[in-house]
Structure formats: C-alpha cells, structure tokens
Amino acid sequence: MKDDIILQVENLHTGFLVDNVPLEAVSGVSFSLKAGRVLGVVGESGCGKSVTAHSIMQLLPKYGRITEGSITYTRATGEKIEIQKLRRTGNQMRQIRGKEISMIFQDPMSSLNPVYPIGDQIAENIREHEKVTKREALDRARKLLEDLEIPSAAERLGDYPHQFSGGMKQRVMIAIAMACNPRILIADEPTTALDVTIQAQIIALMKKLQREHGTSIMMITHNMGLVAEMADEIAVMYMGRIVEYGSIRQVMKSPAHPYTQGLLKAVPVLGMKKDRLYSIKGSTPSLVDRPAGCEFASRCEYATEACRQVPRAVEVEPGHQVRCWNYKEATDNG
C-alpha cells in the first residue's frame, strides 16, 4: 500500500465572491497525498492553505467555489471519486466526510457545540456512518478518549465542552475526527491555538494515532518545526500557489525558493547569537490587487526582470519542485 496515492489534487482553483467580485484564494494548486504518509502544508496566514483543505472537504463558505481543477480521492476499493464534482451536501459527499476524510480545526475552543455533552458529539459521528446503538457508540467514544489519554474518560463523556481545557478540547476534536477510523485526516493548524507544552502532547498523540491506524495526514501549519517533526513531504504555499514542493529532507536541507529560505531563517534556534530574528521584508500583497508575475517578487532579494512573468514549476531534483525564475542564485546564496 505504501506510496499509493490516496488523494490527488490537480490544478485546484478556489475563489470567493466578495461584493460580487470573484477573488481567487487558491490558484492552481497540485499535490498528492500518499497512503500512510504525512504531507505538511506551510505558509503564512491567508496563503490559501485552509481554503485548500476546505475545498477537499467541500466545507467552503457559501460564497466559496472550486472554479477549476480536480480533487481525486481513491477509496480503499480502488474506486476513484472526483470530489469537486459531488454536491456539497449530497449523500456521496456526506458519506466521505467524517468517515473517510475527516478534519480537525484550528480553534478547539469554538469547534465543539457548547450545548451537547462531548460523548454525544463523538458518538454522533460514529452513529452517522455506522449502524451501532447509542451505547456502543458511546463506548467507542470512551475508548477513543482513553487512547487520547484523557483521564477518567468514562465519567467525562457526559461533560460539556466548557468543562474542558483547550488541549483537552482539541483531544476531543481528534477523537471526533478519528471516530470512524478515516483514511485521511486533514489537520488545519491543530496546535496554533494551544500552549506550547500542550502542542507537543497533541503532536505526540497524532503521531501515535497515525502509526497505529496508518492514517494519511495533511498537516496544515505555519510552524516549520512541527512540519519538520511530522511530515514526510512538504508543500510551501504563497498567495494561493505552491511555490516549493518536495520531500521533507529535500526542502529542509536545500530550500530552493527564496520564500522557503525566509521561512526557515525566521525560525528561532536555541543558542542563536543574533540580536534580531530574521523576518521576510514587506507583507503579503492583497488578493484584491494581486501583482502581475511572481507574487513574491516585491519581497524577494533575488527579483529580476524575469519575475514579471509568473514562474512555472521547475524540478530541481527528482520530486523537488520550485516555482521561481532565479532559484539557482537563491540556492547558491541561501
């Protein structure tokens, strides 16, 4: 099963209608998720990582639309499903959602319904997809919570979200996502809203679950350290495009895109003897007046005339792609 592609995203374009003006948040993203592997998607806020994830789940807001491209999910039976063709709230999409592909969101504080006990909220997912009694579903919910190392899980099933801390709520969210043993887990910044110590615990738990169940994970984050720790492959996104894509070793060792280099330099390292932490100059341009050509050019120290054209993806080495005209100079100097 290893290296079988379970999710293939091809030239995905997703846009939103803002005041009746279409804005493209994702412009031609392609990547593949392999069975049992972890793909890290990194980039700063607003680069389109979450929109990509929501496109896969068909959980886009009302005014969001997949305008082009395809998302192909391969079932365990080998059947291929083009997700973008399914009706958002239709039966087929609903059977995949929560059962075969599930998702954890950024803010555990607001992701659980405040008026229902957490046991019911976990059991609900199981009961939606499998023919089990409420008692069986609750029993499985308890087991999930125990696996996620929540103390006295049986008693806590009847508790409400406000009786849990942030880290505990995120465990409950993971329990909901893992309840039907999905083949793909999309984690949208699962640790961003948590304390650093709790982050490490959550990551350890996710790794454990991934090992035990062989789930493929798409890990969306802006935390380079987290990606380095968990991911097998990494996609770096900037303004709705993947600017660099490759195995974690390739990208971390020899980042080719100036933006990836900037991101890596901006990670503080213990014992670093610098007064100031490196930061990428300028800020992300607005989607409303997107610059022509390479969107990173205005912030890039290697920018040349060529950058007025949108760069194509170039293969630096097998499996390592970069979208930059001047990646050679950047690699040599970076």
Partner: protein, 323 residues
C-alpha cells in the same frame, strides 16, 4: 435534568419571594406619596368642608391613623387572605373585578404568545435558511410591517375585513350571553390574539433569523458538517438549540407587556381584560385597584424573568442558575 439543577430551580423560585415583598413595599410607598387622603375622594366636598364633619373619626374608623408600616402589613395580610379590598369608584370588591378580567387577559396573552412564538420562530428559521432569497426578503418586509403598524390600526383593518366584509368572525367582545361553547369563544379570541401576536411575531422572526445566521457562522457548525451530517441535522440539532437561547429570553421579557399593556387591543375589540380596568382605575384615581393591578403585573414580570432563567438553563449547560 439532575437533582442539582432541580434544587437550583427551586432556589431561584424561592428567591422571587423577597423580590415580591420589595416590590410591594415600593408600590405601597409610592401610593403614600400621592397627594390627598383617599377619603377625600369618597366624601362629597360639601360634606367634607362643613364644620360638623369629623374627618379624623372617619380616618380612625378606616384604619388610616395607624403608622404607615402597620397599614402596610394590614394591606399585605389582607392580600394574602384574598381580601383585595374594594374599588373606590364602584365600591365593588376587587376580587370580583379580577375574577372575570384576569382570565380574559391571560387567555388573550397566552394565545398571542403561542401564535407569535410558533409563527415568529418558524418564519425566522425559514428566512435564515433561505437567506437572501425572495422568501427571506418577503419575511423581512412582513415583519417590519408587523412591528411598525400600530395595533389599533391592525385591529380596525382586521375587523373591517374579517368581521364586516367577510362576516367570518365577531367584531368584538369575549362571550355571547347564553352561549359558552368552545366554538364561539374561539371565534371571539382569534382576531384580538392574532393582532396582539403580530408585532411580537415580527420581532421574534427578526430575532430568530439573526440569531440563527449568527450561530451558522460558528466553528461548531463546520464541525457538524465535517461529520457528514445532513443539513437538516446541522440546522435543527446543532444550530437551532443555540439560536433559540436569546430568542426565549426576548419572548419571556415580552410577556409582562402583553398582560399589562394590552389596553389598545382591549378597547378595539371590546375585550374585557385587565388593561381597560387599569386605565379606568388610573383615570378615576382608584388607588386600591391600581395597587393590586400593579402587584399582579410585577408578579407576572418576576415569573417571566424566572422563566427566562429557566429556559436559558435548560438550553445552555454553560449557564449555572445560581450565578
């Protein structure tokens, strides 16, 4: 519902008693501040100003010479025994006045609340689900109309159409002499209850729609969808219960207004309720009736706020009724 929350509810209910006592003191005290002696309204001025008239003896006989707090306790004690006193204007026992008026008011208010909560909440949900469609705009326009057109005008239109033109419903009154059947009672009730409920229907519809739309943007709705739940379950199970919390509070706090402030509707439809009685009592300086009516309205208000607490607690586990 466990034993603890039942205890909390009981506690909350008992805490209404001191509130009620406080209100009764305020009402009694306020009346003491009004100018003049209640007796002066009852005795003809010629007699009052004649030199042989002994006002003090009358005051003594009526117990008006006692200290204020004694008078207060006497008043409260009488109320508790069901002796509500007599109207200064008609001399009738207030109990008898209430015996017909209170049920009439309650009947009207309950029907108004029922109509407005059913229609208001249902239309609000519909408008939210079909946001920015013709249906939504239509509901919104109707609710604005319902809120802004005065009740008396609605009432007159209703009577003109349904009573005079179509002849389906009676023009007013509550009962027909010698005919106490359910059908006639209902026929008399429909128009005033609908007119009374219209404004509240509009308000509840707007409130439900807004509240539901707000809830639908919350993250937990996305979580519900991410489980693969049907839209029906997402709306009715996950969104609706959360959206209902502020709506029930609004509903509860409108109840006292329906009980005490339905003067206009009562006069349009000739409905023999408390509003008209209160109006007569105020203009006739019939203080005993004013006091009792004020107490009843205050009591209803307290009950309504208790209900608001209760519903909020039942709907939202984050609310601890003790706090």
């Amino acid at each position: 519902m466990n034993k603890d929350s039942l205890k909390h509810i009981l506690k909350k209910f008992l805490s209404l008693i001191p509130m009620l006592i406080l209100i009764s003191i305020v009402i009694f005290g306020a009346l003491q501040l009004t100018p003049g002696n209640p007796l002066t309204y009852q005795i003809p001025p010629e007699l009052l100003s004649s030199s042989t008239f002994d006002l003090e003896a009358y005051e003594k006989a009526m117990g008006l010479d006692a200290p204020v707090y004694v008078q207060y306790f006497r008043w409260i004690w009488n109320i508790l025994r069901g002796e509500l006193g007599y109207s200064l204007v008609s001399g009738a026992p207030i109990v008898n006045m209430l015996r017909t008026r209170l049920p009439a008011t309650m009947e009207l208010a309950l029907c108004g609340i029922l109509i407005s909560s059913v229609f208001g909440i249902c239309l609000g949900i519909l408008a939210a689900i079909k946001q920015n469609t013709l249906l939504d705009y239509g509901c919104t326009a109707l609710s604005v109309l319902a809120i802004s057109i005065p009740e008396f005008f609605m009432g007159i239109i209703g009577i003109t159409i349904f009573s005079l033109k179509l002849g389906w419903l009676p023009t007013g009154g509550r009962l027909v002499y010698g005919d106490n059947s359910f059908g006639t009672r209902l026929a008399h009730l429909i128009l005033p209850a609908v007119v009374m409920g219209l404004a509240l229907t509009g308000a509840l519809m707007r409130h439900t729609r807004g509240s539901l739309l707000d809830v639908l943007t919350r993250d937990y709705i996305k979580t519900a969808r991410s489980k693969g739940l049907s839209e029906r379950k997402v709306y009715l199970k996950h969104a609706f219960r959360n959206a209902l919390i502020p709506v029930t509070v609004l509903l509860c706090f409108r109840i006292p207004g329906l009980v005490g402030g339905s003067v206009v509707i009562e006069s349009v439809f000739g409905w023999p309720g408390m509003g008209g009685m209160l109006l007569d009592a105020i203009s006739g300086k019939d203080y005993p009736v004013v006091m009792i009516t004020a107490m009843i309205i205050a009591f209803v208000t307290l009950i309504a706020s208790f209900l608001a607490d209760l519903f909020t607690m039942l709907l939202d586990p984050r609310v601890d009724i003790e706090r």
